[in-house]
Subunit: 172 residues, 2 copies
């Protein structure tokens, strides 16, 4: 179990995945929705999983400790997201899902496969092995699903392939 | 603009809402989806909004600084959520959306109404006035919407009224 030093907040556990290199990790859990991963919880939080087995999905909230900037200084306010590198187009940090943020908080929609005593097996991996977990919230459609078909900005204008990885997208 | 002291992480801005009392705030943005609120951004982050106007929804990520516990000590690992008070039923912290968490990080699905130079008008208020904002991420259906109709645990077993507020739900 890693220490707190990689996260400025207390962590509830860590993610185990097969990725050691951030450049090789698919950019979103739902673009890599079949790959298995595990969340290992700290001893003191294991009872927090009681009832989670009744949910199909959850929000995995992480501290992206290997993001290009770790919160110590200010990352670029306008950036070229991985998916816009081919176009060399920049957008504001709050209009994209870049991991390079003021607070590098990761939000991953994961499918719950099995809830064990002190761990959760899930599908949908988009973080490297050892990523600190700040929180896990059950997905509740009533709270988390907008009505209709919402406009999704520049994401609606591009093709997004499953399993997209930074290292395989055009370089900046 | 409030200081950093109410959040352990740098804040990108604050929420303006009409609520001063946490007990009076609707428990989820999508249960109060028509009420307007405003996010006021810090000067240095205003350019981060570039491109956000093309999105209908966003994830408002906040530090719930007035949650019963502010992260200093450990909140109850099993709790009776507001919506289960009538049944006096407890569930694990990670199987509910209680604000009383190891890290009181709020996740609110808001509808973007207008993106201005340094602020965002939105609809869907579930936080009190002055709540520190840690991040804002655009809602991207491809990333944020699960397939089919996912099981949502104990939330599927109860009636959830729009505009539910802690102070109006059964007492513990």
């Amino acid at each position: 179990m890693i220490g707190m030093t990689q996260s400025p907040l207390p962590i509830i556990g860590i993610v185990r995945s097969r990725y050691a290199d951030a450049g090789q990790v698919p950019i979103q859990a739902q673009l890599n929705r079949d790959e298995p991963g595990v969340i290992e919880f700290r001893d003191e939080y294991r009872d927090g999983l009681d009832g989670l087995g009744g949910f199909d999905y959850a929000w995995l909230i992480t501290w992206l400790h290997l993001a290009p900037d770790d919160g110590g200084t200010v990352p670029p306010i306008r950036q070229t997201p991985f998916l816009l590198r081919g176009q060399q187009r920049t957008v504001g940090m709050f209009a994209c899902r870049t991991p390079w943020r003021v607070n590098p908080i990761g939000l991953s929609l994961i499918r719950i496969v099995q809830v064990a005593e002190q761990s959760v097996r899930f599908a949908g991996v988009d973080v490297i092995d050892g990523t600190p977990v700040l929180d896990l919230k059950p997905y509740v459609a009533r709270f988390d699903q907008p009505e209709g078909k919402p406009r999704c900005g520049w994401y609606d204008e591009i093709a997004i392939a499953d399993h997209s990885k930074p290292a395989e997208l055009p370089a900046t």
